[in-house]
Every structure is written in C-alpha cells, then in structure tokens.
C-alpha cells in the first residue's frame, strides 16, 4: 500500500510539474524527491511514476482530441521517420519512455551525489 502511494504521489508530482513547466522539470522533480526521501522514492519507482504521468497526460490528450490520436501518431511518425509499426505506436511509446529516462537520470544522479556525500560524512566521522 505504501509502495502504491509512493507511485501515486510521484506520478502526481511529475504530472503537475509537467503541466506547469517544460520537460526539464522531470529530472529536477526526480532529484528533489530522491534527496527528500531516498528510501521511499527509489530511481525505479520514480522511473515508473514519470512514465505513468506522461502516459496519463498523453492518454487524456488522446481521449479529448478531436481526431484519432493513432492517425496523428501515424502522421508524426512519418514526419520524424520513426518506425511505422503499430500505426505510429513507436512515437506514442517514446513519450513515456522519454519521461522514464529523464526521471531515472535525475534520480540516479541525485542518489549518487547523496551517497557520495554520505560516504564522505561517514569517513570524516570515522577519522579520529
């Protein structure tokens, strides 16, 4: 239950952040969450949550769009020379994948920084 709540909170944070600010906000939110609660917001959970957030926004867009999103996806796939399999599915899939990669990068960097700092603090305390 706690894990599910974590996913939900992170996904809401990513969705709200993306609504308010451009794509750069995703790794920033991921890093902040890791720095706030590393045990709870693991890179994996944040990766999944970011994908869900962007996928959700995309789904909402697709639901409200006046045309079939698959048709638009096909057109876009044609423009960016993306694989045409799945009726433009590749470019649709790329959207949450990109969010996932952005979140994982931000989270992984924050975690590494935090761990290094932790190690430095620990080694300083260990010194006589």
């Amino acid at each position: 239950m706690r894990s599910f709540t974590t996913y939900v909170i992170a996904a809401i944070a990513f969705a709200a952040g993306s609504w308010l600010a451009p794509w750069e906000i995703v790794p920033v939110i991921a890093a902040l969450l890791v720095l706030l609660a590393p045990a709870r917001f693991t890179p994996f959970r944040l990766t999944v949550a970011a994908a869900v957030a962007w996928g959700g926004i995309f789904g909402w867009t697709a639901f409200r769009a006046p045309v079939e999103t698959s048709a638009l996806a096909r057109e876009l796939a044609g423009i960016v020379h993306a694989p045409s399999w799945g009726g433009g599915g590749a470019i649709v899939l790329l959207t949450p994948l990109l969010a996932a990669l952005l979140a994982w990068s931000g989270a992984a960097m924050a975690l590494s920084v935090r761990e290094r700092r932790g190690r430095r603090v620990a080694s300083a305390q260990a010194r006589p």
Binding site: W23, V67, L72, L76, H81
Partner: protein, 834 residues
Amino acid sequence: MFVRLPLAVAALGSIAYLSIFPPKPLPALAPFLDPVRGVWAVARAGVLPENASGKIPGLAANVRVFYDRRGVPHIFATTELDAYRALGYVVARDRLFQLELQTRAANGTLSGLLGPAALPLDREVRALGLTRAADEKLAAVDTASEPWHVVEAYADGVNAYIDGMRARDLPLEYRLLGARPQRWEPINSIHLLNQMGLTLSYSDEEFRRLRLAGVVGDRAADALLPVNSPVQEPIVPNGQAPARIDSTPLPPPGVPDTAARALAMALAGITRALPALAARTTEGVVVGSNNWAVAPARTRDKYALLAGDPHLELTLPSIWYEVHLAVPGVLDEYGVTIPGAPSIVIGFNRDVAWTFTNSGADVVDFYAESVDVAARPTRYLVDGAWRPLTRRVERYLSPNGELLATDTVLYTHRGPMRRAGGRWLSMRWTVLDPTTVLAPFVGIAHARTAGAWLDSMRAYGAPAQNMLVADRTGTIAIRATGEFPVRPAGNGGRGDIVRDGTVSSSDWTGVWPVSRYPFARNPTQGFLASANQQPIDPRTDSSYLGCDWPDPWRAMRINALLRADSLATEDSMRVYQTDAGSARADLFAPYFLTAAVRALAAAPHDSVLRRSASLLGEWDHRYDPNNERAVLFELAMRQLQRRLWDELNAPGDSVPVVRPSESVVAQLLTQPTSVWWDDHRTPATVETRDDILAASLRAALGDALRKYGEPGDGGWRWGHVQHYNIYHLLHLPSLSRLDLPVQGGPGTLSPASGSGVHGPSWRMVVQLGPDVRGWGTLPGGESGNPASPRYDSQLRNWLSGTLDALYFPFDSVVLSRPPGSPSLTLDPAGRRTP
C-alpha cells in the same frame, strides 16, 4: 553503483543535446515529446472550445465570433475596423504558420525559417525586385487613409493572437522547425499581394520567343507564339459559335536567328529557381481559373447566377480561408480571403457577388541594357547619356541569424537589372509599380450594384484579373481589370520582344484607361464566361494585350454548356464546375479517327492502328475517374506533339526548345500538307497531317499497353492514371493528401494534368435572389492544424464535386449552431482563454 552516475549523466546529457541541437530534419527531442507543450498539444488545440475569449487592444467594443457546423467563423463586430482586427485574429488562430511561410516566400526570407536550402528561392524573389517594391509601396501609402487603417487593424488582430498565444497553441510546423512565430507587420499584406502578382502575372514570353527564333527564325516564332489565339472564343462575346479557328497558313521554319539564339542561351535558366515558374515551363501548367454568370432570363428561378473556381496550387492548408464579416448596417460580406490579405477577395454581400480569373495579359517587359563596366556596372546608357544605377544590398540570414549570403541588386529606372550570360537585362513589371490593390477590396464590400462594384475596382492595379460580377437586379458584367501597359508603337506595340534599353523611346508611355478595358455587360446571349482565354476578339480590338494565350478549351466547354441550358440552376452550375467533358477532345479526337480510317484504307493489315482507332472511337470524350479511354487520347496527343514539333528541337536534342500551344496545333490541323507536319527524322518520306496523326495514334497504343497493361484490366482507368496531390506547405507526405482520384483532365473545367498539384482552389456558386444564397467548398478545410477535423473536412466534398450550402445569417441572433459549437469573444482588455 559506480556506473550509475556516468550513465545517468550520459543519458540526461544526450537528451539535452538532442533537444538543443537536434540532427536535421528531426525536431528537438524532449520539447517535441513533452505531452503538455510538445507535439501532442497539437491534438488538444485541434478542437476549438465552446466559449473562448481573447484580447485585442484597440477594439472599440467586444466582437463575437461564431463558428458554424463547417467550422467557418462568422465575425460580428460593431465597427468595420473591429471586424478586420477580428479577421486577423481568427486567421492567425487557424493559419499562423501559413501566414508566416507565405510572407517569407514573398519577401525573400524563407532561409531565415527553413535554412540555407531556401536560399535560391530568396535570391530569386529579391532579384525580381519584389522586396524593394513592397518597401516603395509602403512608402507611398497614405497612412491616414481608410484602407491603410484596415491593413493596420488586421495586423493588430494577428499580433494580438501571437501575443496571447500559449505554448500549447504553437502550430506543429514551428515545433518541427524549432522556430517561433514572427510578429506581423502591415507591410506583410503588401508582400502577400506581390506574391500573388508573381504567381499570376509574371511571364517570360520574350525568352520563349527568343528560343524559338533561335531555331526557326523570327517569322515562324511569331506564328508559333501568336499574339492572337488561333482559336477565338473571347471573353467579350463576339457573336460567333462555335469558336473560330484561324486557318491562315503557318509560315515554314526559317533561317535560325543566331543573335536571338545567343541571347536565349545566355538567358537560359534565369528564372528557374522559382518553382511556380519552373512548373509552368516543364509541365505546361497554366495557373488558370473559370468564372461565369447567367442572366435571370436564362435561369430557372429568374435570378442571376454566378460561379467561380480559381485554379491555383493545391496545398494543405488551402490557399483560401472562408469567413463571414458582419457589422450591422455597414458590412455584411461572405467569401474567401487569402491569409494575410485584410479583406475578402472572392465572395458576395447581400446584393452583389464576384469572382476572378487570371487575365494572362503581358505586363512584363525586358530591356537589353548597355552598362559602363560589364563586370561591375555603376551606370547604364539611355539616349546617349549615362545614368547611375541604384544599388540595393540584399542580406540573407539563417534561422539563427547568421549571414548566409549578400547580393547587390541593381536597378534602372525601369526596374531590377540582372546579368545573364554576359548580358544585362532590366525589367519593367506592373506588379513592381506602386499601384493600388488593397483599397478596392475594402470598397467592393460595400457595393450594392454591379456598377458600383466595378467603379470600386477601377483603381485596381495588379495582377490583372477578369473580374466577373452579378447583382440582385439581374446585371451580369465582366471586365479585364488591371494596369495594361501602353508600349511604344514600334513592333505593333508588342511586349513579347526584348527591347533596346539604350533609348527612352522603348519605355512604356502609360497604361490603358479603364474605358478601354475589355468589358461586357448584360450580353444578348444571356451569359458571360471566362477561363483565362484572350479577352477580346482581335477583329473587335487588335491592340496588343498579351500573346500565346492559354488554350480556350475550358471557355469553349462552358460556353457550350451554358448555351444549351436556358433554365440554369445553382445545381447545374455546380455540375458544370466538375464537368468531365472536353472541348479539346471534341476537336482533336475526330482528326485522329479520320486519319486512322484513311491510313487503314491504304494499309488494311495495320492491326495496331485498327485496334487503337477502335479503342479511341469508343471514347465519349470524358475524363471520369472510371473512364478507360481518355488515357489513350492523352498519349496520342503527347505523341502528336513529339512528332509534330521535331523542327523545334535544338541541335542534338530530342526535346523542343519551346512547345507551342495546342491552339497552334489546332490551326495546323486546317493545313493538312503544311511543311510542319513533315517529320525531318525520316528524310526519305514527306509526312502529312494524317500520316502524323495515324502514327501518333498507333504509337499511343503501344505506350498505353506498356505503361498500363491491357484495356479492361483496370490500369487504363483515368482515376488510376491521373491524380490530385495536395501537399502540406512543408511537403511532409504524412500531412499531405496524395493520389486523390480525379474527375477531369487537361483542358476540362476542373482541370488535372501533370503532377496534379494545381486545380480548383475554391468552388463557389451564388444565386442573386431576394436573399442571396451561396454554395462552396475548399480542397481542404479551414484549419492549418493537421490534428483538427477542420484540416481537411471539405476535401471529400471537393473531390466528389459537391458544394456545401454557405451559411450567411443576417445577425448573430438568428445564427443557428449545433450545441457545443465553438465561439470566441474578443474584447479590448479581456483575459485570454483558449
């Protein structure tokens, strides 16, 4: 754990790099896929909200805009200027990228948006003097005049939309290019009209004639590019039906004019960078149009009818934008505008309807100049005295502002001067003159009668148009309107020869007075029609107006249809607009068949010719999509042109330097033993007309079988052979609509030929009854957003030849709209919602 950090840095760094420096032609990765501001937002912006609001500073009062079920905006304002402000706003809302792309194409700054690939186009436009002309026109504007206030109001509307636009509203094309929209300047409307001038009135008849004279001499060149169309079906009725075909013998090929040939070679390719001009020469595409009007006496309901369909390049979004402008007691006008033009161009109000076809008059002349230093001239010679050249430096910038190139364009008093093969040529062109174009369109909106409408158009300059008008009193009238140069009397006042620039007596001496314009009003025949043909029979007025006129096949067809229809209805008008019959085929096909009969009498065992003639004989001269014989005729015509004009091939080449019009071929058909029929590639034989026609028909069958298989297998279907291809403005295939079935062929009323990128860009029929009623359709839709249903919502009707009833409500109160249909409130200080 040790690899996690480098991996994360690498991943984020890669994404950032691909988002800031995307490898062309890919868009910036993350901004593109951002689900809120990125490309998917285009889908959300595809639907107009039920109640949107916007802010336009300077509005006198709120403006309401209602979109009907076809997605057409109806603008209800309290002042005329507010209506034009709102027009700018709604056009920008639907067509922002098109506005900018068209402007950049017109002012030679495409490379600032599209990159160095567009540099040749920019250089060509500026070398033609279009940007300088726009500056001069702007300088000559009376900024206190009402028409200029309209231009500024329109610009205010466009800029109000840009200023209030949110990230998610950015059109897809900007996202793909990584660009932002520029603010709209009033001069852009002048640029746009210059661009229309380039599309519709630029011609290089002088060069075509030089090329011909260089091969067959002056006399033959004059006959092959005649000043008067050999097939006379003029716009101003001449009382003759059917068309009169000139049977004057064509002079034989003469001694090549070596001077003309040298000059022609020097000038080769001078304007080939411009796609519109290149298409004209390589495909024989003529940017044309149809319009006709029927007087009440010949209509079923006894009200005048008017129909028009301008033929232009087919694009998505369409070149036209449909709109209704209403200001109670002042303005009530419906029609189509070109994005960037602050007025309705073709349309109707409560009393008058109007439409245009291109006149094709010769309004460009070239002059061979003598300069002081051929390599870097500073002066040019006129009447024995040197005059200084005006220099204008043109700078071309890339999308990130880097200088791509610099040109110095030189000007004589006539216009821009260009160097070609060591020769310097200057050009005089009415489009470059500071003529009045915008003001008349503001004026005609208020016309209550055809006469008042024509009066408003007296000041119109360029590009010259055949302006057709009808009103509720039953008047129908047509006038070729625009600046027509008066040339020096020498050479018959012709404009198809390169003139001597060293004497001022070569210059134009003025323009025709309006009273001399070709004009017809309420003719006894009860109808008027134009299809770009020569406007007036030279037996009536032999003054030089142009040369090598477009073939009158469409005019002949529509005149025949209207002559046979004494109870015309709006529906018959609609049917005629996509009529698949062909006056061209009616003229040529019998000659092929007669020639085949004669050839078979001499050689009865020629089974190929027998079969080909039999197949052609089955043809009904129509270009319906399922027709399986039109293709044979087209191939036969192609073979005929190839075999007939062998004399025009440059030495060592198999392609004519210039291909004369089919009207000249029709003239030659009356001369069966003309030397032109002889194929010089067969020196042992002297061919006659029938020999060439029979050989062409025979060869056409071989071509057809090779390309399309056996007749009856489906490959010969006209819809399989010829298509319309409507490209997106950036030629992105996935946003284009390609390989569309066609009803019509070369020379039919809804023409289709070549690569199928030209065609009827707007079809309209108006009935001038007690309540004016209109019908129309576009080859696309109102929106430039590919994710919008309004992007191509009218395309199906356009393809099927169906017209929508145009909704023309008297006021916003009676405006009936389906529940949930979009509306927009514009106010001077409102908060913007989508």
